[in-house]
Amino acid sequence: MAEAPHLRFEGVTKRFKGPRRRSPPVLALDGVSFTLPPGRTLGLVGPDAAGKTTLMRIMAGLVEPDEGTVEVLGDPVAQIDRSQVGYMPQGGGLYAELSVRQNLELYARLRGIEPEESPERIAQLYRLTGLAGFENRPSGQLSGGMRQKLAMACAVVAAPRLMLLDEPSVGVDPVSRREIWQLAQELAGAGSSIVWTTSILDDAERCDELLLLHEGKVHYAGPPGGLAQRAAGRTYSRALGTARPRDAVQALLEQPEIVTAGIAGDRVHAVTRAAVPPGPDWQVAKPDADDGFAVSLDTGVVLPPSALAAAFPVRSADPAVPAIAAIGLSRRYGSFTAVQDISFSVSPGEIFGLLGPNGAGKSTTFRMLCGLLAPSGGRGTVAGRDLTVARAQAREALGYMPQKFSLYGDLTVAANLKFVAGAYGLSGSRAAEAIERVVGALGLEGYFASAAGALPLGTRQRLALGAAVLHTPPVLFLDEPTSGVDPLIRREFWHHINAIAARGTAVLVTTHFMNEAENCDRLMLINQSEAIAQGTPAELRRLARGMAGEPTLEEAFITLIRSQREEAAA
């Protein structure tokens, strides 16, 4: 007899209470049906607030659906055998103060496994995750990639037949992302199946099946290739030529016939609304899942010119005078060097990207340049002001969007923006104007009176961006601004960032998305606290070319990092 499907959903509907009293209930899932055969990997994708996490929680038996049938491993979900299902919640659910070993052993015991009785399994988990040697480190002090690996190990310590992984690759660099994917495959025994939610369609393309959710409804179910096919005949590319990459993309994004556009290597890539090329020199290109996603969720609304950027004064500062300069920046913690002698400069109107694996020293560099951390050596300037002597003046000149949402979750959107406006010295009508502009430009009107902590992730990121640009600063620092948000919001973000840079603002950005890195004017690759490469995206690709044909930026990234690691090991 064939094994029952590992998951079977039929007409599953779930409503949540509205955010306020008397507001209508929110329909989180609306008649979701699908089947997952044993041994398959299901990628769950969709924009923010699509219902992905609710769906995961129903599979894990944590939330009861209002209507419909849910069968997990052939039985109704009410009779779920929890030792057979490993659930990794978003963020991992680790105890930050406990060590790696304590976390792992705690979860093992919670799942009915005595670590002493199954030393092989524990040893195997340490080996596969690469956490051997870090057993006594508190999990809060691990790098993002390692933390996700540990969280996954904790979820699957009992070798479950069904693994539910909610956003395992959020905020993780491309190298670690590949390792995490590999890890999931290795941890899943033969015949186990995996459900993997993600906003990164690169990950999704590795799955056997995809489920695209939007507003609680299934918009696509099938193999990843099928999703890409949705954009077939509507995906075009052309040689970049001499144009600056981000100018070419920016011009395309505002055209009514274009769904989305981006850079891939030395070509511009665009998806159109009709099967008509955007111009005479465009050639038909092979669509990928990203393109299919964009087509499936396209609302037909044309991106208006960025109102956020329109308020920035046109700054025509001397491009020879750097807006941001790092001169031999170093930071040591005792005997540990987090950042070693990093130097670069960013001109006004330039977008400079810092790339590198988690824990490489990007954020430390960033924090020193924002004046959050005093350098142990070297110095930094922002808008011509030295951070060591004129920290407060330097801060007035910069807008900062931290990696982690750092606004006040208890306060409303309005109260948060009022506070930040006041903190930048805007008062009365100037503050009101700035707030109105940002709220309008980022589509936050509907959330004005909601608590910031209760917003969907993408909306929260929009609010954080809005707070960083309220005072139209000449220098903008964005630390992983698009981490965890879906491709459509990422497109919107970069549309704003490009427009702001075009008015003469210098932008320093960190990202783990290589297609975003392509959009930067220049990049610096940091690994193991040192700068290992600096240049335009094309130059970085060229650096890695010696190793393999025509590398993409991601391949270049991985090659450059591996070669430095090998050098360090030798």
């Binding site: 924090r367 407060a392 003046q393 801060r395 900062y400 750092s406 306060l411 903190a423 930048y424 008062s427």
Partner: protein, 370 residues
């Protein structure tokens, strides 16, 4: 300078919203002080009432009868229990059935009859030292009174001291405790709000964003003072108004003097709370830090035990404690109605503590940053 004002006001408004939005915090801030005022005001009294006393009476004469009658008539006495032997009495004290035991010797009446000085034994429960001492005082009074009645010719052989208690003519304990409660409860509430101010930001990870804003440390601190200060001022003044309304304690002083005193006091406690908050990583640590200072602050204030009874060096330390000055001011204004010339010298040291604590908080904040 206008920029600084804008930033401080933004900070203050944000802090007020954070405190006022949390419904639980709000309940704690408004309802609990009132409940505390009522409960503590009536519970903390040094008068000992409802005394149970054990008696082993070996005398069968008139003297013991007279004495026991006088004892039974005392308003603080609840029950007199008789025990057959000293051993039984010892057990009763041991079991806390009675707080004191009276041993009446067999020859009491005989001594009385012979017009000699008679003696009785009094056993006291030393574990309850305060109450026991007070009971001993009552017993001495009763003995004196009963003796006088039995032998009027011996009563008051020397001039009697006639005590008149100024400012509290009937020696009502409430008159001491209720004005004192203003100081204690304001301290607890203000401290619990102010210790959270910076620790909360650290715990929620919002401190980074704050440090990236162009705010000077002193501006952040100034803004963060506002909620705790307002809560202290509001609660303190609420008590001043409430106490004469709900009890018979009069308010003889000037509200215009009480207001600056409470303001200075709230600022001092806010400063102490903020200094603790700057060194706390999370709200839990902040609360523990608050407890760490609140107990010595209260013990040294003179509310529980008089400052005059402390060793000299400790009296100097108590002189720094803002609670001791606030307690003095509160009693002076409620019961005596003293003028500004007497109150201002008490406000000055409170202000000095406020400035020192805020300077310390600022210094710690700068130190922690680098």
């Amino acid at each position: 300078m206008r920029g600084a004002w804008t930033r401080i006001i933004a900070m203050a408004l944000k802090e007020l919203k954070v405190v006022l939005l949390d419904r639980r915090v709000l309940t704690t801030l408004v309802a609990s002080p009132i409940i505390q005022l009522i409960l503590f005001g009536f519970a903390t009294t040094l008068e000992v009432r409802n005394i149970d006393i054990g008696v082993v009476n070996r005398d069968i004469g008139v003297a013991s009868e007279q004495f026991l009658a006088a004892m039974a008539g005392n308003r603080n006495m609840r029950e007199i229990r008789f025990y057959p032997s000293e051993a039984a009495l010892r057990d009763a004290i041991e079991e806390r059935e009675v707080i004191a035991g009276l041993l009446i010797p067999p020859d009491l009446s005989a001594h009385y009859a012979r017009r000699e000085t008679a003696e009785m034994g009094l056993l006291l429960d030393g574990r309850r030292i305060n109450a026991a001492q007070i009971v001993a005082g009552y017993m001495a009074d009763i003995a004196h009174e009963a003796g006088g009645r039995m032998r009027p010719e011996l009563a008051h052989p020397e001039p009697e001291v006639v005590a008149r208690h100024w400012y509290n003519p009937n020696l009502e304990y409430r008159w001491f405790t209720l004005p004192g409660m203003i100081t204690l409860i304001t301290t607890v509430i203000v401290l619990s709000v102010s210790v959270q101010a910076i620790a909360r930001e650290r715990e929620f990870g919002t401190y980074d964003e704050l440090m990236a804003l162009p705010m000077r440390h002193w501006e952040i601190l100034a803004g963060k003072c506002v909620p705790a200060f307002c809560v202290g001022l509001f609660n303190g003044m609420l008590y001043v108004v409430m106490i004469p309304l709900v009890s018979d304690v009069p308010f003889n002083g000037s509200l215009l003097l009480m207001l600056p005193a409470i303001a200075a006091f709230s600022l001092a406690i806010t400063g102490i709370g903020l200094a603790i908050s700057t060194v706390s990583q999370n709200q839990q640590q902040a609360f523990l830090g608050g407890f760490l200072v609140i107990v010595p602050l209260m013990l040294l204030s003179g509310y529980a035990s008089p400052v005059d009874g402390m060793p000299g060096w400790l009296q100097v330390v108590a002189g720094i404690d803002p609670l001791s000055h606030m307690l003095t001011i509160s009693h002076a204004l409620f019961l005596k109605g003293l003028p500004a010339s007497a109150i201002l010298p008490q406000i000055a040291p409170i202000m000095a503590v406020a400035l020192a604590a805020l300077a310390l908080a600022l210094g710690l904040m700068r130190l922690r940053h680098d």
